[in-house]
């Protein structure tokens, strides 16, 4: 029997980590991820897990220890945020390129400077080309569920890539919610035992990880990473189907909320999707045909499925919690990629980007409502007033 507990997003992830019982966790505390590893270190101290918990001196070392342990054949997890992720940078790429199935809880926080500990998505958007699979979570339940699924996705023989599971700093990580926690045995049965194919500790079959790789083979290894990402697109859905059956959930590549008969929609990830659902319900009560699309999988980007889910609309707004500085229109990364996907799939409907919530700036239902009203106008006129709006910034 599963049970319901009042947990913060970080505690929910720590609980998943306890149930997963990874061989190695290497992490360095950074706000707002800290309470995940703090809680997990209590589980280690209380003997509830067999994990070797490596308390490193920096995030660069944390990810390095993860890489070493994973190459040795261990099931490995870590957690970080913002500048911690930035300090891991070099090794983040190495983890993906060495094809090591490390699972990271990434509690999204604004990157410095100026220094800020609150939520935005500048940290994860920086790693979008690094070769990691990236999943978003609306709330503590999804963070918990995604972490469990991430283990299966990462370790699948057709994938073997690291996975980052995102949740919003403070909003989700420190907000207490009702979370359904499954039986330890059920989680363990779902993730199964990890049988690494190429363990360095398998001394009967000596091997080398991370050797020099020049113009004659480096490119082929990058091509293999492309194939792994393509496979991940399928594996993520297979793992979700199995998870949904076993735990009675409804995960896929994204969640569509009142989207089928909608005329306009907002696309937004993580906790803001929850706020947007309330706005959708309010506007629906007024008879307005509005809907929501909440991407769960950002890498690999499910372009075709997203386009198919949006192609019937008359206007689409993307809400980005980060800016790709100097990009087309100084827009956000989610908008840029989705707009390209729509155009390249031949879907030409008015689209606009709404940057919001940088550095933890509150996003209010009234602001999301204004986005919907902009889109309802765009649906009528056939064009948006502005391509990019910086929502709620003071002029």
């Amino acid at each position: 029997m599963s049970k319901f507990e009042a947990l913060t997003g970080n505690d929910a992830v720590a609980t998943a980590m306890r149930q997963i019982n990874p061989d190695v966790v290497a992490a360095y505390p950074i706000t707002p991820q800290t309470s995940t590893v703090q809680k997990f270190s209590e589980f280690v101290a209380d003997g509830l897990v067999d994990t070797e918990f490596v308390t490193v001196e920096s995030e660069h070392s944390a990810m390095s220890a993860c890489v070493g342990a994973s190459a040795a054949g261990a099931r490995v997890m870590t957690a970080t945020s913002a500048n911690g992720l930035a300090l891991m940078w070099e090794i983040v790429y190495i983890a993906a390129s060495n094809r090591l199935p490390i699972v990271m809880s990434l509690v999204n926080r604004a990157l410095s400077a100026p220094i800020n500990i609150h939520c935005d998505h500048s940290d994860v958007m920086g790693m979008r080309d690094s070769g990691w699979i990236i999943l978003f979570s609306e709330n503590a339940q999804e963070a918990y569920d995604n972490i469990i699924q991430a283990v299966r996705i990462a370790e699948h023989p057709d994938v073997l890539l690291p996975v980052a599971v995102c949740q919003d700093g403070f909003i989700t990580s420190h907000g207490m919610e009702r979370v359904e926690i499954y039986e330890d045995e059920d989680v363990r049965a779902f993730i199964g035992e990890y049988r690494p194919q190429w363990s360095i500790l398998d001394v009967d079959h000596p091997k080398t990880y991370g050797p020099l790789d020049f113009y004659d083979y480096y490119y082929e290894h990058k091509r293999q990473q492309v194939e792994a990402m393509k496979n991940a697109h399928r594996v993520i859905q297979e793992v979700a189907e199995e998870f949904n059956r076993k735990f009675n959930r409804n995960y896929g590549l994204f969640e569509a909320y009142r989207l089928d008969d909608a005329e306009v929609a907002v696309v937004v990830v993580n906790s803001t999707a929850g706020t947007a659902k309330v706005v959708v319900d309010q506007l629906r009560a007024e008879g307005l045909k509005v809907g929501l699309l909440k991407p769960r999988v950002f890498r690999p980007f499910p372009a075709k499925e997203l386009v198919d889910a949006l192609r019937h609309l008359k206007a689409v707004a993307v809400m980005d919690r980060s800016i790709s500085f100097g990009s087309m229109g100084n827009a956000g990364p989610l908008f840029l990629e989705l707009a390209a996907a729509m155009a390249l799939h031949g879907v030409h409907i008015p689209m606009a980007d709404y940057v919001f919530g940088l550095g933890g700036r509150d996003i209010l239902p009234s602001e999301i409502e204004s986005v919907y009203r902009d889109m309802l106008r765009a649906a009528e006129t056939g064009q948006v007033e502005r391509m990019v709006t910086y929502l709620s910034v003071r002029e």
Binding site: N98, R99, W198, K207, Y209, E220, H221, A228
Partner: protein, 117 residues
């Protein structure tokens, strides 16, 4: 050089699954300096063999003889010349600074461009 394989036919992540296949990679082309025997006689102490980072000192283990250099793989780092005890002896007895390609040494490091048989 072995025939180049496609991405489907090689281990993922740049992993090397066969032990000792570095021998198939001819790194000798990277060399700027070449180790060459000089006038001082080698005493076959194997110090150079022990230190060479590229396993490029050729030896006859049966007769315990240092034979020379594997120039297919030697990268010309000069470590052999700097650890050779005979080189140290020659330098001390010379009473002057010796260039690294001085003919009086046991192992000399000669610029590839200046090397002549």
């Amino acid at each position: 050089m072995a025939e180049l394989k496609g991405w489907r036919d090689i281990p993922i992540g740049g992993m090397i699954l066969e032990a000792g296949n570095a021998v198939e990679y001819p790194t000798g082309t990277w060399r700027a300096f070449r180790p060459v025997f000089g006038e001082a006689k080698c005493i076959h102490c194997f110090t150079c063999w022990l230190y060479c980072p590229d396993s490029s000192i050729l030896v006859d283990p049966e007769n315990e003889k240092m034979l020379g250099f594997d120039l297919e793989h030697c990268k010309g780092c000069g470590i052999c010349a700097s650890v050779c005890p005979v080189n140290a002896k020659v330098r001390r007895e010379a009473g002057e600074e010796l260039a690294r390609d001085d003919p009086r040494l046991c192992i000399r490091m000669v610029e590839e461009g200046k090397f002549q048989e």
